[in-house]
Symmetry: C2
Subunit: 723 residues, 2 copies
């Protein structure tokens, strides 16, 4: 068999020509890229490969930036809480911020653009009652209410690009100048960006793909006075604010935003917050602007017969690939980091692009590539997590980042990546464009819906959070499951009802968060629509505190559909008799040890009609009930594991009332999964573990065979049709 090639991007670096050629051959790479801090030799650029070149739009040109300090990017920031001890209160509003990053905006009148709020009452303080003391960066409140708490929301310039700041501090770059970010919305900057790109494109004829990293506005990343991370929100629109933006917003939307609409009590509209109308309007407004401007830059790239690739991260704010305006940008490709199945699908499902590319782990950096460590282990973990998701929705390309010279020193790793790249191409060539078998259609319901497709319960992209992991297991499980997945919002339900094709809805999250839904659950259109839909045969899976808001004697507003509610202490007087576990249940047939992660306390059954599957000393952790023709399933939490993936898949089948379809394209062993592609008469059985596994495999007709899979093996079979 000829060795397959293509669909793989490698980083390269100077003085590494022969080894680069060798690795290109072994890994079948057809593209080369530079990285932050690496440049490619001319000789390398002449190899038979596409050349990607990293490009920064809004920073890295301090000469320009320093000429136009008024066009530096801005932020709205909130001071700490300050307690008034008498009628006069001095607030050091910069306290806790990093002076290398933040500079108050005294160009625009603070009386007009800042806001002082009494956080004890929620009242805005009349600007007549406070003064700014510019020389000490203080706000002085007169007529304060003693023993009330106050905050100042102030407009500031962000005088250091966050990624540059992060790398600079982390790598001790000393007195290397700080990249000043400038704002695409401002006249000089806007023109400069275009001129500069136009010129750059001409000066870089070897570049085939302009790898934008990224466009205009960095996700919110604020450092503290010690130069450490203070606030990081991968979704944060903090740095897109400016006086110009706020004025354009008022013009376009017909109303003015308050600083509070942006600082949001200090939460800064974290994606865990149920978004307000003002915030949704604001991000829509920014997305429109960004899309329009990106389109112009992409046109310049296309004019030079190059491709425009966007990195999904850093300055990606406003480019939401699942948003309304992304399709207008004309971007050719998106590349992003693949940490797991969820992030793979986040990239591979992106619509309106010619191709997607995933940067796999490990990054070729010394934190993994050091003597005594075997980077092939992390590569194997990463590949197993990614492969499940690839089987459902393949990336078009994969790639690596960091120092190729470092990876080259680890032969076992080089061997393993050769195997991975071959396997990737084999999968891709087999299934690209082929619809996989889909058992059921699952919708994840939250306050964000489609725009945050595969992005639920993320804070800083990829970081573990105690408050998130018990929910993140859901998306990770779904990313490689033989189900179709969509993300829908409460507004979708209100405006259009439940989409026809959906079999099962999952609502998962802590009470009050956007992912559970908070106030949306007081909307009778939402609750009535879902009750009717389940009653007529739909399946509802609630995880954690689904449909939770305390209202009219219920905490779970869909308690009647789920069969459970949570005790808040108000109804302790009512005896809770139903605590006995069912002897067995479809949902737990494969699993006997449970891990509900953070779990949940004090969930109880409404009546004897609820089937209690797992009851701990803290209450119900897993249960089901019927509601008309449909079913509700409650699960306390689903951290990611193969056991929980199986448990969730069974819960999906059960809630949809489709247990009889379980043994179609199914494996008996939960370490294995079956992916079928009926239109090409093929199916694959994958071993997600790194030990040998034996499993029964059920084909599309329910016929059983038993097979053995080597560690991490993928086995392709032809579908047998019955005579």
């Amino acid at each position: 068999m000829n060795k397959s090639t293509g669909r793989v991007t490698l980083p390269s670096e100077q003085n590494f020509l022969n080894e680069t050629k060798e690795l290109m051959e072994r890994w079948g790479a057809d593209a080369l890229r530079d990285s932050d801090g690496t440049k490619l030799d001319d000789e390398i650029k002449q190899l038979d490969a596409k050349i990607y070149t990293t490009y920064f739009v809004a920073r890295g040109n301090n000469e320009f930036a320093e000429q136009h300090p008024e066009e530096t990017q801005q932020l709205y920031l909130m001071s700490q809480f300050n307690t008034a001890k008498d009628k006069s209160l001095e607030i050091d509003f910069l306290k806790g911020y990093f002076e290398d990053q933040i500079k108050p905006d005294y160009i625009h009148n603070p009386k007009e653009w800042w806001e002082v709020i009494n956080r004890t009452t929620g009242d805005v303080v009349d600007p007549a009652n406070w003064e700014v003391k510019q020389e000490t960066n203080q706000v002085i409140i007169n007529q304060a209410e003693p023993w009330h708490e106050y905050t100042v929301s102030f407009l500031a310039y962000m005088i250091w690009d966050p990624t540059h700041m992060y790398n600079h501090i982390t790598n001790n770059w000393g007195d290397k100048p700080h990249d000043i970010p400038f704002d695409a919305r401002q006249p000089f900057s806007n023109q400069f960006m275009k001129d500069y790109l136009e010129n750059w494109l001409k000066e870089n004829p070897d570049t085939d793909v302009v790898r934008f990293t990224t466009f205009f506005y960095h996700f919110t990343l604020i450092f503290d006075n010690l130069g450490k991370e203070k606030f990081v929100d991968w979704f944060g629109y903090g740095a897109s604010v400016s006086v110009a933006a706020l004025e354009a917003f008022a013009q376009e939307k017909g109303y003015r935003l308050r600083p509070e609409d942006i600082v949001d009590r200090g939460y800064y509209n974290s994606s865990f917050r149920v978004p307000t109308k003002a915030y949704l309007d604001y991000i829509d407004f920014i997305q429109q602007f960004v899309a329009k401007e990106v389109k112009e830059l992409v046109s310049l790239v296309h004019d030079q017969d190059k491709e425009a690739m966007m990195f999904l991260g850093d300055n990606w704010i406003g480019t939401e690939p699942y948003g309304e305006y992304f399709k207008e940008t004309g971007i050719d490709a998106v590349v992003g980091s693949v940490g797991d199945g969820t992030t793979l699908r986040l990239i591979s499902d992106i619509p309106h692009v010619s191709y997607t590319e995933g940067r796999f782990l490990p990054y070729f950096f010394p934190d993994t590539f050091y003597e005594g460590n075997n980077p092939a282990i992390e590569a194997n973990e990463n590949w197993l997590a990614a492969r499940r998701a690839l089987m459902r929705s393949p990336l078009d390309r994969i790639g690596y980042g960091g120092y190729l010279s470092l990876a080259y020193k680890f032969p076992e790793f080089v061997d393993y990546v050769e195997k991975v790249t071959d396997e990737f191409r084999d999968i891709y060539d087999t299934i690209k464009g082929v619809k996989p078998y889909t058992g059921l259609n699952v919708a994840v319901l939250n306050a964000w819906g489609k725009i945050r497709t595969w992005q639920t319960h993320m804070v800083a992209h990829g970081k573990w959070y105690k408050q998130a992991y018990s929910y993140h297991g859901i998306t990770e499980a779904l990313s490689g499951m033989a189900v179709d997945v969509s993300f829908i919002s409460f507004d979708d339900i209100i405006n259009n009802g439940v989409p026809e094709e959906v079999d099962v809805i999952i609502n998962a999250g802590d009470a009050g968060t956007s992912f559970s839904g908070g106030e949306h659950w007081k909307n009778e259109k939402v609750t009535a629509t879902l009750r009717e839909w389940v009653y007529n045969g739909g399946g509802l899976i609630g995880v954690g505190e689904p449909s939770a808001i305390h209202h009219q004697g219920r905490y779970f507003q869909l308690a009647n559909v789920l069969g459970v509610d949570k005790e808040l202490g108000y109804s302790l007087s009512t005896n809770k008799y139903f605590t006995e576990e069912a002897d067995s249940h479809f949902i737990t047939e494969d699993v006997s040890t449970f891990n509900f992660g953070e779990g949940m306390k004090n969930v109880y059954a409404l009546s004897e009609d609820t089937d209690i599957i797992v009851h701990t000393e803290d209450g119900i952790h897993l249960s089901s009930t019927t509601f008309g023709e449909g079913r509700g399933v409650y699960i306390a939490g689903i951290p990611y594991s193969y056991e929980n993936t199986r448990l969730l898949l069974r819960a999906i089948y059960y809630s949809a009332g489709k247990e009889e379809q379980w043994k179609i394209w199914q494996s008996s062993n939960l370490n294995c999964e079956v992916h079928a592609y009926p239109s090409i008469n093929k199916y694959a059985i994958i071993n997600n573990s790194n030990v040998e596994q034996v499993t029964d495999v059920y084909d599309g007709n329910g016929n059983k065979s038993t097979i053995t899979l080597q560690p991490s093996e993928i086995k392709w079979e032809e579908e047998q049709h019955e005579g």
Copy 2:
């Protein structure tokens, strides 16, 4: 030494004269009582003892009750939640209720007195849109909103007294007639009660003490359709409702109550609910009525030169001993069950009575007094729990209940009670009327304040609840601590500020409950007053979710005083750096293993100024901070134990900034406590454990001595004055 006698009440029974005499002598009893189901012989009544006779006011006279069915006691009840599947909805509003207990009131017009509520929207359904179908006990809603949930609040007669029902069912009394409770507010019943008592008093000349069990209205106790407890609230005013009461209320308070004011979404104003103004008005209204009527009955008793004793339980509703009107009743004595230190103080602190009596455990019933069991063990546990509290505030009498003949069969128990009764009298004779040494003054702050003195976090009196035990440890610890304790409400704070004498305020409970405070924490008068008070030197101890309500970027509204807040998921984007525990801390000097009960998740330090004492994987469980001259202490939960008693006492001293006074009247061993009575120059060291203990003892001048205490020993010492 002569054997002491008196202050002890025994139950007796028929045909048990000689043994009764023997036990009276050994235990020094000076009073005899009957019990439910036991009567006293005439010979026993002639013994040298006061005779208590149990008396029921509002039940036990079915002949009368059956003549006046319209005067049967009433309840407002709420149906189950019912989901409309189309425009018409039939609700079986009695579903889940016990037909032997509940009978709908069709005498008064349901259209006027009932309420149908759409629980999805909270709207009341226009009575024109529903009908009652009397023959099937249904409410039919026309024009229902499909897929909304509805409840019916209906007025019912309670045709079986709850205690009688409980005993009847528990003891299988078969076809014994059900006691029908009649209502003191109704004309015939009111007259009957007085006439009957007057007559009864004359017919029972041997009775010295009328032991009312109790007066008019039973705490809410509703059974389900299977004849099991459905709803029990020891504080519940459910059975005090009637059309007459509601009309009198409207007359007196100037506005009408809605059924919803009573059924309260099905929570029935559990004492965990933050009480509404309507409910506070209602219980005030009932208390006034009850006090006035009790006073008349007590007068009748006094007219016959007998004493009136009230049992604190059963039909005690409206008699709140810590309420406004109790002093007007003229009651001579209160007797109640002593399950622990908290319930002892609940009784012993009652004002306006000549004496209090505690019924100790175990009850002389076969569940404890069976062959092979040693009831002395439970008696010892009960005594150790009670004695701590006695040392602070002695009962005037103790007693026992049940079958004396049963206890008589357990000689070890008889010996032990002889020891207990002697010890009780010794303590009483020494300290009655003597002010014990008080280190500090502690106020427990919640939405109820004084009226629920020692009654926080109770549901069914004495029962363990998962949602309560981590807070109940506070009152239990306080009950025997050398501190003065008061219970104050938010209204007290708003109207009068923090009382002058208070050193430390404790706010403890789950968010949203009356004990934490819920909406009260949005009141700026509350938060500002407390901030100022702590800043000027006060101590605030928050347990669980103190001052919790999500408002203006804070969850704990006193986060700035406590130094901690709880992460709800909205501020995950903000890094939380402060997790390191202090090396040592005054609060934990004696304790190294911790038990925070249910604990709390996701509590974090606001800044490096917070001293983290215990940090678990769930977050901060114990911390302190300074706020001006004062201090805040956060504790995740305090289930009762000697370790936690010590920890709380240290937290009290620390928060008040009085660490230097720690070694005054103090023991080094946390199993022991020192109680000093400076005005009589005496102090006692008690061993709360049932093993030998050695402890250092610090006297009033801080002088240390070391003593050894036998298991459960109390040792009295004379105070040495320095020359």
